[in-house]
Every structure is written in C-alpha cells, then in structure tokens.
Symmetry: C2
Subunit: 452 residues, 2 copies
C-alpha cells in the first residue's frame, strides 16, 4: 500500500546481468529498509557485490537493518579499514544489539577495529542488564548548555547534529553532564535568536534511570507521547537517550512476550520462522509437562467419582461442556485483567472492584448459558428433571467460580511479583477444570442421592 513498489524482479535481473551502475542508481534512491530486504534475498557473493555499491551513508544504514546472519557475512568479508567505517557510523544501540548476538571471535575483531572511544562506549553499554533502559538507549544525543543563546544552539546542532539519533529533542546538561533541562527543536525554532536557553528550557524533565525496566519505558512513552526519553545514571548524569522507534520495538516485543506467556510458552527471542524446531520445542515442553501433570489431578477427581458415573452413565457426557465453558469463562476474565494491568488501567488495589464486576458478569453469563442448557436438556431428556437440574446448577456455579478465579489470580500473581500473564487460559483452565468437577459431582451427589 503505502510505499512505492520496489522493483525486486528488475533489480534481480540487473544483478544477474551485472549492470552495476544501474543497480547503484536505483538503490541509492530507495529507503534503507527496502534496500536491506532486497539484499537479504541474495546469496553471499552477490550480496557483497551489491552492498559494496552502496554509498557510504546508505551502506551503514542498510547494515543496521540487516538480520544478524547477514551482518556476520558482511563483517567476515570486509577488510579492517572498511569495517571501522561501518562501525563508527552505527548508533551504539544497534551496535550493542548486534554484538550480543555475534560469536566471540567476531566481537573481538569488531572491538579491535573500533576507535578507542567507541570501544569504551560499547563496553559500557554491553554491561547494562538485559531489558533495562541502559540496554535499549543510544549515546548519540544533542547536549546543549543553559547559557547558550538560541542562535548558538542552532550553530551547535548544525555542526554536530548529522550523526545524532535525534535532534528534535535536545538536552541541557551541566559541565558534569548532569541533566538540567530539555528543549525541543520546535521551541528553539519558535524563539528569537537571542533568547538564552535557560529561559525557555523545561526543567521538569521526564527521564528514566539506566536500570529501569524497558516495559516501564514504553509505558512512559505512551503516556506522555514522547519522541525521546533521556536516561540518567544514579548520579543524575545523562548517559543516553531512547528514541520512540526503539520504544515502539520494545512495545511490540513485550506484547509478543505476553502472547507467548499467555499461551504457556517461554518467550522466544527471534521471529517464528527463524527459530529452530528444537528451540520451539524447548520453549513449549516445560509448561506442557507442568500442565499435563496438573491435569492428572483432574483425572483423579474424575476417577474418584467412577462409581457415580458407572451408575448414572449419562453424567460423563456433560463433563466436556462444563469444564470447557468454565475454562473459557475464566480465561475471558483473566485475559481482560492481565491486559488491563499491562496497560496500567488496573492495579492490585482494584481487586475488590474487579471481583465485584466479574461476579455480576458471571451471573449474567451464567443465567443465559444455564437457561439455554435447561431448554436443551428438557427437550432431549424428558422426565429426567433431577439430572437436568444437576447440570444447570453446576454450570451456573462453575461460571461464577471461573470468573472469580480468572479475576483474582492474575492480581495475586502481580502482588507476588510474578508475571500476571502466566495466569492465562492454560493455567486457569486447568484449575477451573478441577474445581468444576468437584462442584458437579457434589451437586450430583446431593440431588441424585437416590441413584448413587
């Protein structure tokens, strides 16, 4: 839809025909993301030929967009001098992402090719804990001084802004690099040239600490509609910034993680198609095992009522309907609560309001579903009023129970500093299954006393 169509076919023909000059002209006009996705499709040899054609600036932008295997291939077939150019042009955050994935020998070679100051920076950034603000931020920001005039600030930005990740939000720091204020390029542009930065900067700077969790960071971006967020160390010194595009990546990554955890998997690091079969199996087997063993308990409960089922054998045919509906009702509730907590709409102190809400939702759903069942059973099993009543009462109680369990468990998980996402469909269903069978057979025992 949005972008102009990329002439992949035409480009491939040109590559095969070695029409290098034409390729160069076309690629130079294209967006780096599109160039990268074209290059990715070529075999190693052709990829290197095409990559070398790219103008220097585009080359490092394209390099940053390539997947790690392709980056490694390029590094392996690039001479040290050229490698230095690529490395020095990369933003620190992209560099760190890459280094974390590459084998140690390649990392060594890269660090050797980097200038001493870049090397120092990389080493510092590699030390921040995974998923912290420090691991997402980059070092290329514009730092102004508060006694500069707007005119001086513009001169500074024109001179130093080219290789900054953003120039639209500028930070004001002291000589000791402590964060004092923030000013947008828009504010600068809207102010007279002689204005002093101190008079127009905003001193209430929304900022993060290097150790803050990346999930919190993306929430802050969302709440305040930021383009960039400054990151300070424990002495309030500005050490980096996070730009909105990286915050968006974090958001998507966290959502993907939640989807995976909520489907009883360990979160994966790579896209599905690039994850090996073994890794996929490894991420899934633990929860499958745990849930399988838990469901054996449900089996034992069923076994416990073997006699009742043998006597009133029709009872067993309602088991899938009861446990299934209970599981679904419960995971509807838990999904809403988990997502609400992720988005910050629900906090643990809302527990009673949530429970009260789910109880009422449960009553409405329970009444409707029980009524439908009552009609069906009355038609299908005429004269079996007690069995009909057993099923209907059990269904109603199961739905209320399921909604309550689904509402409360994610909040309890949060209070215990566990990820609420584990309290999603699979675990809730397993718990609700067991509870609904206990309800069912107890109701049956009371009502069908004469038969059992």
């Amino acid at each position: 839809m949005t972008q102009e169509n990329i002439p992949v076919e035409e480009l491939l023909e040109l590559v095969n025909a070695k029409q290098l000059r034409k390729i160069k002209t076309i690629l130079s006009e294209m967006n780096e993301v599109d160039v990268a996705s074209f290059i990715e499709q070529l075999d190693s040899e052709k990829m290197m030929v095409v990559f070398r054609l790219l103008p220097k600036d585009l080359a490092s932008d394209v390099f940053a967009c390539l997947p790690i295997e392709k980056q490694k291939e390029i590094i392996d077939s690039t001479a040290d001098a050229e490698l230095t150019t690529i490395i020095e042009d990369l933003f620190v955050d992209d560099m760190v992402d890459m280094l974390e994935e590459l084998p140690a020998t390649v990392v060594k070679r890269i660090l050797k090719s980097a200038t001493p100051s870049t090397r120092k920076l990389i080493n510092q950034f590699l030390n921040y804990p995974e998923n912290s603000a420090g691991s997402v931020m980059t070092a290329e920001y514009v730092a102004l001084k508060k006694n500069m005039t707007v005119e001086q600030a513009f001169a500074y930005i024109r001179k130093n802004g080219v290789d900054k990740e953003t120039i639209y939000t500028c930070y004001v720091t002291t000589a000791q690099r402590k964060l004092e204020g923030v000013i947008t390029l828009k504010d600068l542009l809207m102010s007279p040239y002689e204005t002093v930065i101190e008079d127009i900067m905003d001193t209430h700077v929304i900022h993060a600490m290097t150790t803050d969790d990346q999930e919190e960071i993306s929430k802050t971006f969302n709440k305040y509609d930021l383009l960039a967020l400054p990151v300070v160390d424990h002495e309030n010194r500005l050490v980096g910034i996070i730009t909105v595009d990286d915050a968006v990546d974090v958001m998507e990554q966290e959502a993907t993680e939640d989807f995976e955890i909520m489907a009883a998997m360990l979160p994966s690091e790579k896209p599905y198609m690039k994850t090996s079969v073994f890794t996929l199996a490894k991420n899934r087997i633990l929860w499958l095992l745990f849930l399988m063993i838990s469901s054996m308990i449900t089996g034992n409960i069923l076994g416990h009522y073997e006699e009742a089922m043998a006597k009133v054998s029709i009872l067993v045919t309602f088991v899938p309907m009861l446990t299934g509906t209970g599981g679904n009702a419960g995971s509807q509730a838990s999904t809403m609560i988990i997502r609400g907590m992720t988005l910050g709409d629900i906090t643990p102190k809302d527990i009673f309001r949530v429970l009260w809400k789910e109880l009422r939702v449960g009553i409405i759903c329970g009444v409707i579903l029980s009524a439908v069942n009552f009609i069906r059973l009355a038609i299908m099993y005429p004269g079996q009023e007690l069995i009909c009543l057993t099923v209907v009462i059990s269904l109603f109680a199961t739905i209320i129970m399921a909604k309550s369990v689904g509402a409360i468990l994610p909040i309890i998980a949060k209070c215990l500093h566990l990820d609420p996402a584990i309290m999603a469909a699979p675990l809730i269903s397993t718990i609700v299954d067991a509870c609904s069978l206990i309800i069912y057979f107890n109701v049956a025992t009371v009502l069908l006393n004469a038969y059992l």
Copy 2:
C-alpha cells in the same frame, strides 16, 4: 519512576483551601498529561474551578487528555465564546475522537461554536470510515513548495509551525495540494540557507491512502521507523498526516483487540474499569454460547463410548489429561502463528513450512510427554500394559494432531479473510478436544478389544 512525583495530596489540600494562585503556579509547570489525571479526580464543580485557572494553551492540551465524560462536563459548563477557543486549539484528530463519542446535542453545539473552516474540516474527517487512515489522521501539517529556499522554508515554519501537530517532517505539495516530496527538519537544518527545497527533498514519499486500514498504517510506521506518515486521497492530494504517537495508540489498541479476540470475546472500545457490566457480558456471551454448544458435541462423542468406559472404567480418568494437553499443545502453535501473521513474519504462502515445523515440534514434545506418562503409568498401574500403551499412543497422536490443527487453522482463516485471531486457544481446544477423544477411543477399541 521517570517523571517527577506529582504532589497530588498537596494540590488537593490547596484546592480545598481555595489557594487558587498557588494551584495555578504549580499546574502551569506540570505536564498536561499529569494535570489531566489530577483534574480527573476532582468533582465537577472543583474541576471547573481548576480548569479555568489553566493558561489558555495548557487548557486545550489538558482538555485533549481528559476522558470523554469530563470533556462533556467542561463543554456543558463553558460559555460559547470560551468553547470556540478550546475547539479551535484542538487538533482535528482529537476533536473527531471526541465528537464520535458525544451525544448529538453536544456535537451540534460544538459545530455551531466552531469557525466555518473548522466546521468543514470536522465534517470531512467525520466521514472517513472507522479504523481507516482517514479516521486517525490530523490536518495540522506543514506544507512547503518546491521552489522555496531553505531560508524561506524556515521563515514559513517559524510563522506557521506553532499549532502544527509536527514540524519535524514537512511535505512538499503542488498548487493543487498534490504530494510531491518530503523533507525533514533535520535535512533543512543541515543544508545551506540558499538551497532550493526541490534539490534536497525526497520524492519517494512513503504515504497512505485515506481508506487504508489503521493496522497497515502502524505496520508501516514500525517498518520504516517513521515520525509521521502523509495521507493522500485518491487523486494523490495531501489531506492529512498521522503522527507516531497516534500510530502507537493504534498499535496498542490492535494488540488489545487481538488479546480479546484470542480469548473468545468481542473487542471492547473502552478500558476494562470503564466498561459496564452489561457490555462486558454482551462481549463475552456469544462466544461462550457458541463454544458451549460445540463442546456438547465432544460430550456426545464421550457418550458414544459410554459402554467402553463402563467396562474399563479407568479409561475416563485419562480424558482430562489427553484433552487438556492436546488443547495446550494446539494453542501454543496457533498463538505463535497468529502473532507471526500479525507482525508480518508469516504469510499464507508459508503454510507448508509452518506445518513441517510444527510436525517436528509435535514429535519432540510428543515423545517427551509420552515417555513421562509411560513411566508414571508403568509405576501406578503395573501389569496393565495395554491400557498404558493406549494412553501413550493416544497422547502422542493427539499432540501431533493438535500442533497441526493449531498451525493450519489460523492460516486458513487468513486465506478466507477472517481474523486469524479467532483461531486461538478456545476454538482450537474445542476442536482438539473432540479429535483427541476420537483418537483415544479408537486406539482403545483396537488395543483393548478383548475387554470392550
């Protein structure tokens, strides 16, 4: 974490003590998002007192951040002249969001208070279909002409940029408002003053059409790391822009919708705590009913084998383990595939690669889970080799079947132009439940022939 703590307690005391000047000073320094979340907590009367204290610029920013009920209260107790000021200061996208929620009488009053040009714009924007690019975009962008010099462009931006939603990406249009090029403020700033825009603008503009789906829009933002995306009509005339903060909102909203659909609910429009019990119940009941009726089929299958279960009563105790594990294995697969399709990593043409992958994952998981079960059964039921074998074979076959079903159904849904998210845990579990019982009792019939 990131922002300075908001002195809510102190502010509330000041409001009660009617220390209006002090309140004004504190609020004027605060971020509009924080002011809005403070104001929200006050009762109507106090809210109006505090809202009127706000400087004009801040007032309309705060207004845009308030929830719809509070906006309505403010509109109701504001005189026409004042209302015009607020309206004219709002961005069209925020205005449209608000108008779509307000009762007709209030909408009429707002349109009456707006200037004719604003009124025309609002009416145009209200006509774009829901969830289209047109419904998310705003009209406040910077449009330059290609024969301007950089210096003229800066003069233009300084004069007209204040009330634009962004000035960091500027668009170059013809006299007929056709989109010709794009240029960032950074490019302008890095170029000499006498440069003509035409020479430095990018003519390959990534753009959207008014009718494009908002989900595609947010994918484009993500792919190209954009700050703004221009939206054109069918004659390539620039009609609006979408900024990254709105694209991020769309992203979160689409993820929330997917979570809800995947847990068998109709997507909700509002946050959980603000949704009424009836709406929650209404969103859930349809799927609960449908799944309940489907699970009756599973019950009938179970009923079909009543006799077998009566003879070898231990068989029934393995049912929850088989159906549960099958459901979990299947929804693991379907969740990965659904999410992969949402992110664009998996397309329908990958169907065979996906299936082959899931088959192998299924074999690995199946072998491990069956082995664990074999050991457990051998210990718990010594001498019952055939029953043990029945369970183990059924479990293995169920897992393979579940992974395949979970892999294929979301892709088929996509091909049928249905939302793949409906093929998540609830529906997959219901389908897998029925299939696993058929597998189980067929294996049992063959192996336990003598007993049955």
